[in-house]
Symmetry: C2
DNA sequence: CGCGCGGTTGACCCTAATCAAAACTGGTGG
DNA sequence: CCACCAGTTTTGATTAGGGTCAACCGCGCG
């Protein structure tokens, strides 16, 4: 079943009954968790081809919102159950996807627990660039669909720190910015070293 | 195939060829990632019954070391493949386990990205307590098998901060410590509120 | 007994957060 | 077309939470 979301709108929120699994046909979705006082952690950004809505218990563990206009393909949980019955090979594929998500999540733990602001932002840019490359999309410039506040909540920082770090990178000749969304990577090698924590 | 590890010894390190999946028969395993300069992020602590060694690519994504003397049951990847062929239901179980791990990892992202030191330590104690409860083990006192440095690297903090926060909790009457390992929770309700970010 | 290691405590520092304001940006309507 | 406004981004000044460095404590072990 197809779902269309316009930028900024909500697909579901944390705790909603998790009756669907979605696959993104086109667009960008942001998933996040909130603390009672409003502090937000963005868990990830999902794009074309990504799955969304794995849930262990009966409720979603996070909220999902559209960053850009997005089209999704939704499978009801019961229908999915039948589908898996019919194509057991799919289960293996889902397991592979979940294991991959897990590895990504663990990388993000390293980032959030131990990396500096510069290392976090560099890692983010590198990951974004690698994702473009793997999707056979043009890799330069990088056009960020999400706001600074989304990036900061993803990296465990504030808007101000993101902004300052961007200008620092600019002054170091690592990147170039036209406007806030459009980024040219000028020194990929050094940016990678920063992302890996090998360079101050 | 059974494996015995004595406290402190290494099961595998990040990048090793991931040819086995393990199930912990008894003991406690710590998994972690390192940055080139030695900064460490502990990804998790695994105990009796937990699985260990899901790997997407051909290498493990983290290192695994024994916290206490540990006994594990190891399945070679090929044998596992056969096992899954024979018992397809097992795949569904593995998927469930992976999805659960993913949810735990996402909670940890919220913790690492947005929680204060006090909230992190409280969350850790609550999670430990809940795990004891779920395993039908005595819940008081909590006996921590791991060192302060393990806890700090798990929570993205330093030993000193962990230590200071323990004494703060002690002074607030939230917990009581006999020695460094043995902890009595004295005000579970407030500790839970701190863990959830609802109390300063 | 004394050594060593892990843990605690103290003094000070630094990174990133907070608070505040200016610069842009895009959209609306006169 | 341009002035205005609201929201986002950038920049600046100051603060604070947790890190770093160092001393001290306490316990187990050779």
């Amino acid at each position: 079943m197809d779902v269309k979301l316009s930028a900024g709108s909500t697909l579901f929120i944390e705790g909603d009954k998790a009756d669907h699994l979605y696959n993104i046909s086109h667009g960008c979705i942001r998933i996040h968790k909130l603390l009672p006082d409003g502090r937000r952690q963005v868990i990830g950004f999902l794009t074309t081809g990504d799955f969304l809505g794995f849930a262990v218990r009966d409720g979603y563990a996070y909220s999902a919102e559209a960053v850009t206009n997005t089209k999704l393909c939704g499978f009801s949980r019961v229908k999915l159950e039948h589908l898996l019955q019919a194509f057991p090979a799919m289960e293996k594929r889902l397991l592979g996807i979940a294991a991959n998500e897990l590895a990504v999540a663990q990388d993000q733990m390293l980032l959030l627990g131990r990396k500096t602001a510069a290392e976090r932002l560099a890692s983010f840019l590198i990951a974004f660039s690698d994702r473009l490359l793997k999707a056979d999309l043009p890799i330069s410039p990088i056009v960020l669909p999400m706001a600074r506040s989304d990036i900061s909540d993803y990296l465990g920082l504030t808007n101000e720190t993101i902004s300052r770090t961007f200008t620092r990178f600019r002054k170091l000749g690592l990147i170039e910015l036209n406007n806030a969304e459009t980024i040219y990577i000028r020194d990929m090698k050094r940016l990678r070293r920063v992302a890996g924590g090998e360079e101050p």
